[in-house]
């Protein structure tokens, strides 16, 4: 028998609201299956089970807000299920309307059933405006008193990062890297490919962060408090969190699992997938809690440099400014090159500048060499 509990989806998360069960009592579930949707201040997250078995009973009903660690359901292993057979009759879960976390939260606040809202967007995505239009005739009683989804997400970000700035003794290292080889490789790689199969520079940055984290393993760790003392626990897997800005405002940083083992094409697919789902509001609990190091990248149209704040319990974060063509010295001559400013923020309780600088040098080594695998 195993307990399916309210997970912690961030270091500052204390409670979550069970929005709905996605499976029924009696269902056979496998590790990784999505069992429930939970609302947090960062949106509605799909929660997976980490055990296989049969759902014996639900302990918490949808709508209840419960602390992290609360048992939500009981799952029996196969043997238990045979001893205590449970009803199998159930309807298939309804298809979820496509909507961002902010839209879903707004719908809940206004008492609007998302499935009943007609999307104005041609791709069927329900927007906040669609929900508010649908709610106009309903006069939701709590809409006036609850903070907006944007406000709640901003508060959650502020709470997490205030704690990070208060508790983590940050230091920062900056390094300029010539992306000539990387961008030339991308041009060759993409030239004969359909747009859906192309790779962007962001995927190469994720690749470099992942492999540098594997090489400099002390930065691929989670900080834990053990007997009143802080302790950095090195992690076996490299799951790179990617900071994604949501179109309605706010930010999430879901993890790309085992990013150090993925080639460029697979990383690109993972990046597209996680970004699309972050904006559609269908991230999974493991993606929200598993990141071992995070990258924030300003892409093509941002400013030169971003100095990140380490996202606890991680111990390091990489900020990549926009790629810009600038003068650069190559073999004694000044040439125009696409350059990126990388800034590494590190928890000083874990290591120091000399060791941490290896991380950026490792990233440079990876980025000035054409990837061997597609």
């Amino acid at each position: 028998m195993a307990d399916f509990i309210m997970p912690s989806l961030g270091s500052d998360m204390e409670a979550g609201t069970l929005v709905k069960w996605r499976r029924a009592v009696g269902d056979r579930v496998a590790r990784g299956d999505i069992l429930a949707e939970v609302e947090t201040d960062k949106g509605i997250i799909e929660v997976e089970t980490f055990v296989s078995g049969v759902i014996d009973r639900f302990v918490v009903e949808p709508g209840a807000k419960v602390p992290v660690g609360t048992v939500l359901a009981i799952i029996h292993d196969e043997a238990g299920a045979l001893i205590s057979p449970v009803p199998r009759e159930r309807a298939a879960p309804a298809a979820l309307p496509r909507a961002s976390p902010l839209t879903r939260r707004r719908a809940r606040e206004l008492g609007v059933e998302l499935a009943e809202v007609a999307p104005s967007s041609p791709d069927g995505i329900v927007s906040v405006a669609d929900v508010e239009r649908a709610a106009e005739g309903k006069k939701a009683p709590t809409a006036e008193t609850k903070p907006s989804p944007e406000r709640r997400m901003r508060r959650a970000i502020a709470a997490t990062l205030s704690r990070a700035k208060r508790e983590i003794p940050h230091f920062y290292l900056r390094h300029t890297i010539d992306l000539h080889t990387a961008t030339s490789w991308l041009e060759r790689h993409n030239v004969s490919r359909a747009p859906e199969e192309r790779v962007i520079a962001g995927a190469l940055l994720v690749r470099a962060v992942a492999r540098a984290a594997r090489a400099v393993s002390e930065l691929n760790a989670h900080m834990r408090e053990v007997d009143g003392e802080w302790e950095a626990k090195p992690l076996d897997h490299v799951h790179v969190g990617v900071a994604i800005s949501l179109r309605g405002g706010g930010l999430v940083a879901p993890a790309i699992h085992d990013a150090d083992r993925l080639g460029c094409d697979d990383l690109m697919r993972a990046l597209v997938d996680v970004t699309t789902r972050a904006r559609a509001g269908t991230l999974r609990s493991s993606e929200m809690s598993d990141a071992t190091i995070t990258l924030t990248s300003l892409g093509e149209r941002g400013v030169d440099e971003v100095v990140p704040v380490v996202f606890p319990p991680q111990v390091a974060m990489v900020g990549a400014g926009s790629v810009r063509t600038r003068p650069w010295v190559v073999d004694g001559s000044v040439v125009a090159r696409p350059l990126v400013e990388l800034t590494l923020a590190v928890d000083h309780r874990v290591t120091d500048g000399h060791r941490a600088s290896r991380f950026l040098l490792e990233m440079e080594k990876l980025l000035v060499t054409a990837p061997e695998e597609p």
Binding site: A194, P195, E196, I200, G202, S245, G299, R301
Partner: protein, 82 residues
Amino acid sequence: MNREQIRTQVLEQLAAVAPDADVQHLAVDADVREALDLDSLDFLRFVGALHKATGVSIPEAEYRTVCTVSGCVDYLAGHASA
């Protein structure tokens, strides 16, 4: 596909990438990446959606040409099969 049909396609695909934006009132010569706050992944999704909708695969070298509605319509009109 005539120019009006192409324009409709372009706006539909922009709306899909930026569902919160009012694409109908987008200036035809505005850089959509700036106007709609599209990052490189959004823009790639837009180009990919146009590829699926029109059959035209816009090369990376033409991204600067197709970053406005008018430029995009011109490009697609010149490359789409009748």
